[in-house]
């Protein structure tokens, strides 16, 4: 079997020319953050060298150009997720900030004491803690769609959960621990039948597969740039126009206003009403370049590449004694993450010894402690794949795991 979808792609990523202790970096932690191609890195220095200025207000050339670059990035992102309009896209710091924005603006204006927010047991802490806080503040209830050990959600009692005072549903598109793809279109459609407003945490889906927010029909849809080849500190909140227009601002200050007197202010139009202060201009531009790069590869090829890598890994590791992949039996998975246990070796020991071979994997609870509890483990080791990974990375991981056994036994 040969996986040659993206030949020579590592050359586009300067970090892969770095050696640690004479060894190439085998990067298998893209679910945490991805490496950056030259196009993205260069766009950042190019901006600072040639366009640096503040946006939306300068009358001079470089400010006009900078504004155009920033807004073009918004258009690129909007097309990428097939938004109805780029005005529906708010730039945030990351998916976490986008979720906090919704929790602190839409929720207080629309939910009242006794109402429920529905979540799932597989959420990342960023799609759990903000809801816990606002629920305590407003005396709301949190209810959970349960997960089974194969990594899929138990959906046969949705109607029950969606009854009564359920007003809001927030769930992840793809599990960051297991790679499970949730049938969000179907779940959202059922939620809408009950008048429930919905948010999709797409931090682990947008980087790996083609998504269409109009088909998904989510009310809110959030993701982070750094997990899709873009810079850190830039993320996206997509919201249906009607909802966004009627929302209160999140942060207040410059750029989000249309008119200010000493005692009062009127808000700017969407999406700028939600972008107070000078935004992460270069972050947005870099993210736009990352999307160009992904579009060149083709998102269906990206998805196919990861699934092939995952299959290759599953076959390769089937020979390894006492090696268990979590969620393996669930076929509806992106293939971008492989969480595993290996004998009774603790994930931190596994990760430390692999690091000695210059292999980067994640060990821990992956910001999903409730899910770890469900799987019955305190932590897992997670290898995650992206466009620049290939078979040789998986072969090195295999060799590294042999070393783990020889060190620890």
């Amino acid at each position: 079997m040969s996986i040659s979808n993206f030949q020579d792609i590592k050359k586009d990523f300067p970090i892969f020319s770095r050696k640690i202790n004479g060894k190439n970096i085998i990067y298998l932690d893209s679910a945490a953050t991805t490496q950056k191609p030259n196009e993205v890195i260069n766009s950042i220095s190019d901006y600072y060298k040639n366009y640096n200025s503040n946006i939306h207000r300068g009358i001079y050339s470089i400010s006009i150009e900078a504004t155009e670059l920033y807004e073009n990035a918004r258009n690129t992102l909007a097309k990428f997720i097939n938004a109805n309009s780029s005005r529906e896209l708010v730039f945030t710091r990351n998916a976490t900030e986008a979720i906090n924005l919704v929790a602190n603006t839409w929720i207080p204006s629309n939910l009242k004491e006794g109402d429920s927010i529905i979540l799932t047991e597989m959420e990342h802490h960023s799609n759990l803690v903000p809801w816990q806080i606002i629920a305590k503040k407003l005396k709301l209830n949190l209810k959970f769609i349960k997960i089974q050990t194969d990594g899929s959600l138990i959906l046969d009692n949705l109607e029950e959960l969606f009854k009564e005072n359920a007003k809001f549903l927030s769930l992840t598109h793809v599990s960051n621990v297991l790679g499970t793809i949730n049938p969000i279109k179907d779940i959202i459609s059922k939620a809408h039948n009950h008048g429930i407003t919905t948010l999709v945490d797409a931090a682990q889906s947008v980087p790996h597969m083609s998504v269409d927010v109009q088909t998904i029909d989510s009310d809110f849809f959030v993701f982070s740039g750094h997990k899709m080849l873009g810079p850190s500190g830039i993320g996206v909140l997509h919201t249906k126009k009607k909802i966004l227009e009627n929302m209160e601002p999140f942060l207040y200050g410059g750029d989000m206003i249309s008119n200010v007197s000493l005692n009062d202010a009127q808000w700017n139009e969407i999406p700028w009403k939600f972008e107070a202060g000078t935004p992460n201009i270069v972050g947005a531009i870099g993210l736009g370049k990352a999307v160009d790069y992904l579009n060149n590869l083709g998102m269906s090829n990206v998805h196919k590449h990861e699934q092939e890598l995952y299959s290759y890994a599953v076959e390769k590791f089937s020979d390894l004694k006492e090696f268990k992949i979590f969620g393996l039996e669930n076929k509806n998975s992106t293939g971008c993450v492989m969480s595993f246990s290996y004998s009774d070796f603790h994930p931190h020991d596994i990760a430390s010894i692999l690091d000695g071979e210059s292999i980067a994997v994640r060990a821990g609870h992956h910001c999903a402690q409730p899910l770890m509890e469900k799987l019955g483990v305190p932590a897992t080791t997670r290898a995650s794949f992206y466009v620049y990974n290939d078979e040789s990375d998986i072969d090195k991981l295999f060799d590294g795991l042999q070393k783990v056994r020889s060190v620890l036994t």
Partner: protein
């Protein structure tokens, strides 16, 4: 960091932990966990004339945290309560033989010491310092 941190003494105590278990009616008893990785350690101590006469640890986690607890309990036998409260991380790290654990793993190594300090300060009725293991 690499497998250099897995010194023989650590691997020995990881494979054959000493003083593992619980005590009935201990004078000092405490537990804590490392929220990042889920390592969990409890330490029970029985005193006789203010001196450690029996000590056990229990818990689960990585080789570093568990072997460190095992090594620590070995070091504490026959120590006075005063010596427990003054026990330093350097003494423990020297015994572990891994001076360069790095920021990611040092917390694993010092979890048992933190638990010891929590228990000892509680026993003495004095306020726990902010970073008791340091």
């Amino acid at each position: 960091m690499s497998d250099d941190i897995y010194k023989e003494i650590i691997l020995d105590h990881y494979r054959n932990p000493r003083n593992k278990g619980k005590l009935t009616d201990p004078d000092i008893s405490a537990q804590d966990n490392n929220p990042v990785c889920g390592d969990r350690i409890s330490i029970d101590i029985t005193l006789k004339d203010n001196v450690v006469s029996d000590i056990k640890f229990d818990g689960e986690g990585c080789a570093i945290s568990q072997s460190s607890a095992s090594i620590l309990t070995d070091m504490l036998m026959d120590k006075t309560v005063d010596e427990l409260s003054k026990f330093t991380k350097d003494e423990l790290l020297e015994e572990l033989g891994t001076p360069s654990l790095g920021p990611a793993r040092i917390k694993c190594a010092l979890l048992s010491l933190k638990v010891l300090k929590i228990g000892t300060y509680q026993y003495l009725g004095t306020e726990l310092p902010e970073d008791p293991e340091n």
